[in-house]
Structure formats: structure tokens, C-alpha cells
Symmetry: C2
Subunit: 477 residues, 2 copies
């Protein structure tokens, strides 16, 4: 596959994305429309994402559990906004064991309702609070237009669901988990997200307030990459999640939910990828280092391979792959592993063996500039430092790109121009009419009021009325 | 909850099982009939099982991936035995996004068909083989009689699916994974399973040959605890999984599948549990050590708690819980954590602090015999050794119980007697008529022809005809 050229990003970003995912064997289309198969290389990336998040969830006191896939249709109807938001997207089981079911079962699109029902049974007293549970699993939303990772009928995610005694605790939890997502995105994925609050139009169906981390993709479109919702008492009232407080008075809980999905893989691909293919951040890369042995004869192979194995042994703390295929050339392998986004390549040939050296090639710096010859002595240290440097450089580069494509519009005409190929950061009065006008005129939506720099008095960029904050407008996935 | 008595196993084994799971907060019933919620304590056990297995899968060259939840109905029909086996148990999605679907979608009961379809697209050449993939996920089978963990509509499992160039390699893989399950069951779960081959009647729908690990529960019933199937070329032919061999000839692959599910949690509960409650093997226990501080006043509490924290710090390699609840007595806590199966309890009170000692109480040895007072010096070492000893003792005890309840019948009348409260190990001619007769007369089925001691010439215990092997007959879950 690596001998055919990928489409250029500048010519067809969408085709670049689709073809790259399949060529790199991250994922494939399933036989059912809009569903995907996550292949081993893609799933290994997801497992690394899971580990990085799960560690943070447990460190903040959460435990994992598993709630059922099927939800009685009547449950969704208990929260008015929620059912309006999700009912057009449901997959419904109507037959079980050969018989028509009395009540159809929804394949969960998200689990607030069924978890709310269980919490109402488990929570009795203030002593039972807070309940801090997360679930790793699959959910289904019947989307019409699908894209691998970005929007599929079935996708994989985690959904945290917590219940608290006070409004303040629920808000703190919502923000804490947004911080966890931000920390993960920035420090593990090198994706410089902007954390902020969603507008009422863009919030989760049933939430009091939704927070998001927004990332800029390589085509300057925005991608909502994780969300954290303060659900107020909406679900607690719909499902009677109540507790006796310290004064023996029955109170409704305050609940939250927060989720990050396989969509984040799309964020990584489109934040870092270039015309050569994927570019994975070292901390999450399924393969951090690929070793390509170079030989032209069996005799050379016999000299090179023992050193390759020795070098692999030195790097046993890292995720290392030796590409010892004999049916393709080293040049083919270089292209292939660049396309697959491996951060660092080690080349070892007969000359290196004479000199006790190896050649290192960075994925993030193309050509000669990214190549260096180093001693085999202390190689583990050299490689680790280099991987850290790559991680850091990738974040810096993504941040520079993002900042270069965010502009503050002078007026509404300028905003319309900016959002054609970038984000506009401007005052907004908060009315959904102004949001709707921007969407109608440009297809851009409000992405978030950032936690930092969001509070600011001025005049709404759309209607000129007084505004209390600034918001990002952008086209999005 | 811990103040109400559990039913005795000898009086009502089934109620003991059901109530214990709910009281210990391992799982609960979901609002949909036959579905379960795995609560954090139960899911932590499953995560430990997952880690122990996943490590072994990766060490034997397997990679994880994710295949879709939904399978077109027509796929199941491609393998005749398979569809006959599974069609009575299917949950079917007929509505998606508000519209009736042209082709109904089955919620996967197992994934041979959809994975077979993908393999037929991915595998082209002998160079692509073997394909060694595992999936962790959920499946649905519309069971009529359900029991928490043992048989639920939705359950969690792993399913391995591999494709090979030769029949021999497929058989080797099938047996290798049976070995992995046996090693896991015996050495991690202290469940002394018997690995063996299933009869044609009991094999997986679509397999050429099925292997199983069979465990004996505390009521002497058998539990099939994991299976490994050699699928021959059945699915390769149904889904055209083909490859060009080294001579450029198109061949069908040989495939396998193997699975172990949350049912195994039932095996752990019923192998080890006693009238006091759960008894978890230390290697898998969600909490390995519980520390109960003992104090009768705030002054004593202030002296005891710093030492408790210090002891917890010494045991940082282990999964340790400090129960510092003030609303219940130490005696209540002892019963509570015994019921929850924590292998080792550490009690620390004012006297221990004076002496620099702690009290240790083993879950597997009740009363004074299981209790000892040890120095705080070298406590980490003491505790680790004790946990290893508990692990070993639990396996021995389970093995003794199993062996004491397996008998070789003199004749058919004796077999009928034995299987009322144990397993019968006897010659069997291999005919399904004899199997059916035993089932009709006693409700017992053939469990497996064991890999060790299974080959043996004799006369069938049912019909007296020549037999080539011996098989276990037992009632089962």
C-alpha cells in the first residue's frame, strides 16, 4: 500500500484522512453501514489512551463499573430535553428470543437514564455520597453521515457518572474532570485543546451546563474532543435520586457526567498528521521506535541482526518493533513506518556495526535535518531524551498552528471571512439568535467560552448589544 | 446488610449465591429482565481477571481489536450449525434512527461471522498468517432462565479469533489457549479446573472440536468456565477466508475461537465461598488486605490512626483498604469484610501500638486458628508470604473437595446415584444416545473427556459397548 501516494492534505483533506486510516490499518469499515472495525494498531492506540485516562480517574477517586447495554424506551422519556436530543438517533431492539418485546429496548446512546435509575436504588443517605463511577464501553447513535473515528454508529468511550450532596460539589467535579481531560490532551496527546463552556444551544441534552475541550484540526476546523456536564438536579428529579441529609431531610442529589471517546483518535490524526501520513505523540504511540535493519546479503544480515536484537534489548522499557521483512526494501519500510506515524526510526547497517553507531530519524522533522548518527553506548538514554523532545516539539508546533489560525474580527464581515479558514474569537451577547445567524451565514458555530480569557465586556460581534464574554466561532466536525 | 444472616449453603445454595452477590455489592439486577449491573467491587475483580488473561494473550502473540456490535442477520445464516445454535437466542434491532431497517441487525451473540467476514478482506497471502486477534467486549444471548454472572442476557467476555495456514497450527492454537485458561484458573483464581474435550453434543455450534475447562462448584455441580474451539474450515468456507500459499495456490484458512466470560466470577464465588460469604484468592482479590483500626475514644483514635496510615504505607505494593468508618463497630467490620471475601484482615488497636505489633486474621481459616500477632517490623514481608500461603491453601482445599466428590461408578445404577451429588468418571462409547439417556435419567451431561487420563479402553457405563475413553458426567450450571 505504501507505494501508492496518499492524497495531499491541501488538495483533499477529507480523502487524506479516510485513506490514511485504512492504509495505516487503524480502522476499517464494518459490513453494517456507519460502523467501524478498530484494527489492532488503532486499538493499541486506544488502549494507551485508556490507560492514561484511567490512571487519572482512579487518582481522583473514581471506580469503574458496567451498566447494561439495553435501556427501556420509557426511561429516556423521563427527562424531556434528553429524549428530544437523543430520540432521532436510536437503535431499537424489538425482538428478543424470537418474540416481539412488550416494551422496545433502546441500545444505549449514553447512560444517564439507566445509571440514574440504579443510583436511585443505591443511594439512601449522605454517607453514600459522593458516588464516583466511570464506565468503559460502547454506545450507539444512529448517525446519518459517518466518518471513521469522528462519527460512527457504534463508538467506544468512557462515561463518568457522579452524584453529590451539593450543587457546589457537582460543579467542582464537572470542572475537575474537564481539567483531567485537558491535562490528558495536552500532556499525553500533545493536542493543545482549549477548555471552555458550551452555549445553551450546544450543550448536552439534559445538562444544566456543559464544558468542552476544543481542538483545532490541520484544516483549521474545530473538533469537540471531550465533554463534562453539570446535570444539576435534572436527572436526580427524573429518576428520584434522593438522600437523607445530616438533618434527616430528604434531598435530591446533584449529578454530573463526562465522556471522551474514540473520536479523540481523530483529533490525534488531524492535529499532527502531515502529507507523509500519521504522526503519533511518543507517549501514546503504539510503536514508539521502529528498528530497520539494513543488509544486502545473507552474510550482512547475519552480522546485522544480532546487533538489532541487542539494541532492542537496550530499549526494553519502550514499545519497540523490529521490521525484519525480507520481501521489501529499507526505503519501502521508511515510508511505511513514517506513514504509520512511528515517532522514531533506528537504522542499523553494516557500517553502523563497524562504527558502533546507529542512525536515528525523527518522524516530526523530515529529511536530513531530523537524522543523526549516535553511539550505541548510552542509546537508551539518547532515545528517551529524543522521544521527550519529540513530544514537546509536537505540542509546540500544534500550538503555533492553532494560535496562527485564531483571529479577532474587526466586525461581522471580518468574522465571516475568518471562519472560512480559521477560528474567530469575539464578543457575543449570548443570544441563540446571533448564534443561528452566524451558522446560517457561515456554517460556523460557537465552540466555547474559554475558561481563560472568556470573561470580557464588549459589544456582540453579530448584533452590537452588550456582551459579557468572548467566544470562539468556527466550523467543526 | 451484614447484620442479617446469609442463608446457609447447605440449606439453600441458590439463595446463598444470589443474596451474597448483592450484599457484597458485586452486582445487581438491571431494570431490563435478565441483565445485570456489575458494581465497582465486582468490576474491580473482572479488571484483575482481564489483566491476568491479557498479559498471557499478549505473551502468546495476540493483539486486541474491536469488531462491531451489530451483525447483519444474513451473516449468521452462512454457517448452518451456527445459526441453528444461536438463532433462538438473538436480540434483533429492527428500527434505526426512527425508520424500519431493510435488513434486521443481530446484537452479536458471538463474533465468528463478522470477524470471518473481515478476515476474508484482510487475508490475502500466507505472509498475512497467522492472524491472532482478541476482543474484550459485551455480547447478548436471549436466555430465559438467568442468574447473576452465570447466565445473563448481556455478559462481558473476551473472544479470541485466529486464522492459520494449516490444520495442525489451528489445533495447536486451540490447545495453547486452553492451556492459558487452565494456567490462569489454577494459578490466579485457585480454581482447580479439569481441561478436556467436549462431546459432539456439547460442542460449540459450528466448531470441529471444542475444548473446555470444567470446575466443580461448592454444591458439586460442574461449571464450564472457559472454552477453546477448533473451527476447522467451517467458517473459512462460509466466509471465503482464503490465502495464496507459497506455491501460489488459493487455500481456505483454518480458524479457532476461544472465550472466557464474567461467568468465571461465578466460578470463583462458588469454588471458594462459605457460609460467612465470599473468599477471594489473593492474586485476584480487589482488596487484598483490609485494615481495621480499633479505638473506643477520640483520644485512642488519634493514637491509632497514624500507625494505621504508616502500616498502609508499608503495604503500598498491595491493594489495601482502611475501614475508618465511625458509625459501625470493629466486630461489624470483621463480619462485613469476611462476607466480602478479603483474604487478610489487619487489626490495629492501642495495645498493638504499645507492643509494636498488629493482629492478622486469615479469611480462609476461621476463628482463633487463623489469627496471629506479629511485629510491625518486616510486616510487608510477613503479609506477602501470608497471602501466598492463603493462595496456595485455597487451591489445595478446592482440589481436595473436588477429588473427594469424583467417583468411578461400578455400574449404571451407581452412576445415577453418584451424579446426584458429585461427578462420575466413567467409560463412554461416544454415542449421543447414551449421553441422552444419562441426561434423561439424571439431568447430568458429559462435561469433558479430560486431556489427562481420558484415553482408556473399557466398556461404556451406559450401554456396555466398547469405549475408547473416559468422560466426566455431572449436573451443571
Amino acid at each position: 500500500m505504501a507505494d501508492e501516494k496518499l492524497p495531499l492534505r491541501s488538495e483533499n483533506y477529507s480523502e487524506w484522512y479516510n485513506q490514511l486510516i485504512q492504509r495505516a490499518e487503524l480502522a476499517d469499515y464494518a459490513p453494517v453501514r456507519g460502523c467501524m472495525v478498530v484494527r489492532p494498531y488503532g486499538w493499541a492506540l486506544w488502549e494507551n489512551i485508556q490507560q492514561a485516562l484511567d490512571k487519572r480517574f482512579k487518582a481522583t477517586g473514581h471506580q469503574n463499573a458496567a451498566f447494561p447495554l439495553f435501556i427501556p424506551m420509557s426511561f429516556l422519556e423521563k427527562e424531556k430535553e434528553h429524549v428530544e436530543g437523543f430520540s432521532p438517533e436510536l437503535a431499537v431492539v424489538t425482538i428478543g428470543g424470537g418474540e416481539k418485546l412488550e416494551e422496545p429496548l433502546v441500545v444505549r446512546p449514553t447512560s444517564e437514564t439507566v445509571i440514574g435509575y440504579m443510583y436511585s436504588r443505591w443511594i439512601k443517605s449522605y454517607r453514600d455520597l459522593p458516588v464516583l463511577i466511570n464506565q468503559w464501553g460502547n454506545v450507539v447513535r444512529w448517525e446519518l453521515r459517518t466518518r471513521l473515528f469522528l462519527r460512527t454508529l457504534e463508538f467506544y468511550w468512557q462515561e463518568g457518572h457522579t452524584a453529590h450532596a451539593t450543587e457546589q460539589e457537582a460543579e467542582e467535579e464537572t470542572r475537575r474532570m474537564l481539567d483531567v481531560y485537558t491535562d490528558f490532551a495536552v500532556n499525553e496527546a500533545a493536542v493543545p485543546v482549549i477548555p471552555g463552556m458550551k452555549s445553551a444551544t450546544e450543550k448536552f441534552a439534559g445538562a444544566a451546563r456543559s464544558y468542552t475541550i476544543e481542538a483545532m484540526m490541520g484544516d483549521t476546523k474545530a473538533l469537540q474532543s471531550g465533554t463534562s456536564h453539570n446535570l444539576g438536579q435534572n436527572f436526580a428529579k427524573a429518576f428520584e435520586i434522593q438522600f437523607l441529609d445530616q438533618n434527616n431531610v430528604l434531598q435530591h442529589c446533584w449529578t454530573t457526567s463526562w465522556g471522551l471517546s474514540t473520536r479523540f483518535i481523530g483529533a490525534i490524526i488531524m492535529t499532527h498528521g502531515d502529507d507523509q501520513g500519521l504522526k503519533f505523540p511518543p507517549r501514546l504511540a503504539p510503536i514508539q521506535v521502529v528498528i530497520v535493519p539494513i543488509f544486502r546479503s545473507e552474510e550482512e544480515r547475519a552480522r546485522v541482526m544480532p546487533v538489532v536484537e541487542q539494541v532492542k534489548g537496550m530499549l526494553s522499557d519502550l514499545r519497540v518493533k523490529v521490521d525484519d521483512r525480507s520481501e521489501v526494501t529499507p526505503g519501502f519500510k521508511y515510508n511505511d513506518w513514517e506513514m504509520r506515524g512511528v515517532p522514531l526510526r533506528i537504522e542499523i547497517g553494516p557500517k553502523d556495526i563497524e562504527k558502533g553507531s546507529v542512525a536515528l530519524a525523527r518522524r516530526d522533522i523530515p529529511g536530513k535535518e531530523g537524522k543523526q548518527f549516535v553511539s550505541q553506548d548510552g542509546l537508551a538514554e539518547t532515545v528517551k531524551n529524543l522521544l521527550e523532545d519529540i513530544q514537546k516539539s509536537m505540542l509546540e508546533k500544534a500550538r503555533e498552528f492553532r494560535d496562527a489560525n485564531i483571529h479577532e474580527p474587526r466586525d461581522y464581515a471580518h468574522l465571516q471571512e475568518i471562519v472560512q479558514d480559521g477560528w474567530a474569537f469575539a464578543h457575543w451577547c449570548g443570544s441563540s439568535a446571533c448564534e443561528a445567524k452566524v451558522k446560517e451565514d457561515t456554517k460556523a458555530t460557537t465552540r466555547c467560552i474559554p475558561l481563560e480569557g472568556g470573561k470580557s465586556k464588549g459589544a456582540c460581534i453579530v448584533c452590537g448589544e452588550p456582551a459579557e464574554y468572548k467566544v470562539y466561532f468556527a466550523k467543526s466536525y
